[in-house]
């Protein structure tokens, strides 16, 4: 009997050990997290009401200060000013960014002010800085009027769901944590986590700067130029999605026949391809398509040409610039380039320059012509 009891107890111990050794269950954590980060919003009422009750007196002080500010400074915009005295009280909690009316100005006093957009972003306005939310909804935008702010953003599958604009410079989030400081006519950006894109607010045709983790940049207030340190790069081309365009060249004026054997001299806006005239071969002796060597020599000329355009049409202020694109050329039977497509597209100025150069390029004659694509890495 005691042997049986002992063995049962041993069996129980063994089962306990086995159960303890079972690995923790693996759930679809991304799904659980996504649901969780959505659902807490439905239970925030009690939390925010508690916070609201704590902030009642500071809020009244804010309202009074706001009223003064509205009268004296900004008659048309809803204004909430965090006065220095009130800031000390507000800083212990976080302002609910989702409840801020668009255009509400926030000015930090001697202490920083935290603004929280539930489940999306948290930004800290550093002492004496002023900012306001200019765009709510899916894509948040904070306008930094003076001083500095740091932001920590929940990663989102959609890019640029959070952006800070300082003057004409837009700093859009591709990652999680960064700091923007508006200092005179400069905008200083430091990236701690993830990636941000810095570009002009008004146009997407200028270069955009990509700053990655542990890099920093110093930009002009219009966002069109700047210098970067660390793991950063400049992307030339449209920052905004733009469908690639097929550029037809056949509509241009008739071109003289050019050979493709000589290297291109891509200088200036209209690079010329050094060429030797060739006589059109008799039709009966033509191959169906140009030979590989004919194609490749033409491609190398096209690449030289494109690199020349890239060098001449981009401005990188002493830093290395690179761009990748797929170039598709359609070559007619008479060896002329009928159309060209860049995907993703290059800056319009670079493309226009390339088109002018490609008009002078001629491949070997063939019956059917050829269409081919090459991936290009352009640097300057």
């Amino acid at each position: 009997m005691s042997a049986e009891r002992n063995s049962n107890e041993e069996a129980l111990e063994r089962l306990i050990v086995e159960l303890c050794a079972e690995p923790a269950p693996e759930l679809d954590w991304d799904r659980v997290e996504a649901r969780l980060m959505r659902e807490p919003k439905s239970v925030t009422r009690s939390a925010t009401s508690t916070l609201a009750s704590r902030l009642r007196w500071p809020a009244m002080a804010l309202a009074a200060a706001a009223a003064v500010f509205v009268v004296t400074k900004r008659p048309h915009a809803p204004v909430a000013v965090v006065a220095p005295r009130a800031a000390a009280q507000v800083a212990s909690g976080a302002l609910n960014g989702d409840k801020l009316a668009l255009g509400t100005h926030i000015t930090a006093g001697n202490q920083s002010v935290v603004v929280l957009h539930q489940g999306r972003a948290r930004w800290t306005l550093e002492p004496h800085a002023t900012a306001f939310v200019s765009n709510a909804g899916e894509f948040l935008t904070v306008q930094l009027e003076s001083g500095a702010l740091s932001a920590s953003v929940v990663p989102n599958t959609k890019p640029e769901t959070f952006a800070v604009e300082a003057g004409g410079t837009r700093v859009a989030v591709h990652g999680t944590a960064f700091r923007v400081e508006r200092s005179g006519d400069r905008v200083l950006v430091q990236v701690n986590e993830g990636t941000v894109a810095v570009e002009p607010t008004q146009t997407h045709s200028d270069p955009s700067f990509l700053l990655r983790r542990d890099s920093r940049g110093n930009f002009a207030l219009d966002g069109r130029s700047g210098s970067v340190e660390g793991n950063a790069s400049v992307v030339v081309g449209d920052a905004a999605p733009r469908s690639h365009r097929q550029i037809a060249l056949s509509q241009h004026a008739p071109r003289p026949a050019k050979a493709v054997t000589a290297p291109a001299q891509a200088v200036g806006a209209t690079p010329a391809v050094a060429a030797q005239p060739v006589a059109a071969p008799a039709a009966q002796s033509l191959p169906l398509q140009p030979s590989i060597s004919d194609i490749e020599s033409g491609v190398s000329s096209a690449i030289d040409l494109l690199n020349g355009c890239f060098r001449d049409q981009t401005h990188s202020a002493g830093i290395r610039v690179s761009a990748s694109t797929g170039m598709t050329l359609s070559v007619a039977g008479d060896g002329t380039v009928q159309s060209v497509t860049f995907s993703p597209p290059l800056a319009p100025a670079v493309e226009d320059c390339a088109v002018l150069g490609l008009r002078t390029l001629t491949f070997a004659h063939s019956v059917d012509g050829v269409t081919f694509t090459r991936l290009l890495e352009l640097t300057r």
Binding site: A11, L12, L19, G93
Partner: protein
């Protein structure tokens, strides 16, 4: 201020990023405890989510008088017990899989299949314990909490915890005889010790 304390303070201020950090740091522990408490894979995800929703709702009540892990254990145990009570009043549409805690056993080696079946059988035994006994047994024997810590989690005197542990073990030992998948464990151990196997003793 420790990193965890800072995270908790930020959670209390409604910081979603801090809450996400807490979730990521503790989700595996919570999932494991829920699994051990319920023994059923079907509700696991919903229960884990419910636990963290409760954490979100009530973290402002956490005053740091106990360790955060102890408080989290208490929230988890309460969520599971509430769920079980609610489940008792609902019709059972589908039982948990018989073998291997929801695993597909077809491609597993024999010893792993046997092991999975033992684990599933043991969960069935745990499921037959009362809620209070199962909670203290899981917390002490499987999670490794001391009786004092268990007492804090279940809000009961330490002596009560020890008593529940004693009876939980005794009931499990009795139930071992009734589970075919577990019986051979005892049989093997008996064979190693030279004693008469259980089944043969019972048949004589």
């Amino acid at each position: 201020m420790t990193e965890l304390t800072e995270l908790i303070e930020r959670c209390k201020a409604g910081d979603g990023l801090a809450f996400r950090e807490v979730f990521r740091n503790h989700r595996a522990d919570v999932a494991r405890l829920v699994q051990r408490m319920t023994g059923r894979p079907g509700d696991l995800e919903d229960l884990v989510q419910e636990v963290f929703l409760q954490v979100y709702r009530s973290i402002k009540d956490f005053r740091g008088q106990s360790r955060f892990s102890t408080w989290l254990y208490r929230v988890t145990v309460n969520v599971v017990l509430m769920h079980r009570r609610a489940a008792k009043s609902r019709p059972v549409l589908q039982d948990a899989p018989e073998d291997g805690f929801g695993k597909d056993l077809r491609d597993l080696p024999d010893d792993q299949v046997a092991r999975s079946r033992r684990v599933a059988a043991f969960y069935r035994l745990l499921d037959r314990l009362s809620d209070k006994k199962r909670a203290v047994f899981v917390l002490h024997e499987l999670e490794g909490l001391s009786p004092t810590e268990v007492a804090k989690v279940v809000s009961a005197p330490v002596l009560t915890v020890r008593t529940r542990l004693f009876y939980a073990r005794r009931e499990l030992l009795e139930m071992l005889k009734e589970e075919p998948a577990l019986e051979f464990v005892a049989r093997e151990l008996l064979a190693e010790s030279g004693a008469e196997p259980l089944a043969e003793r019972e048949s004589t």
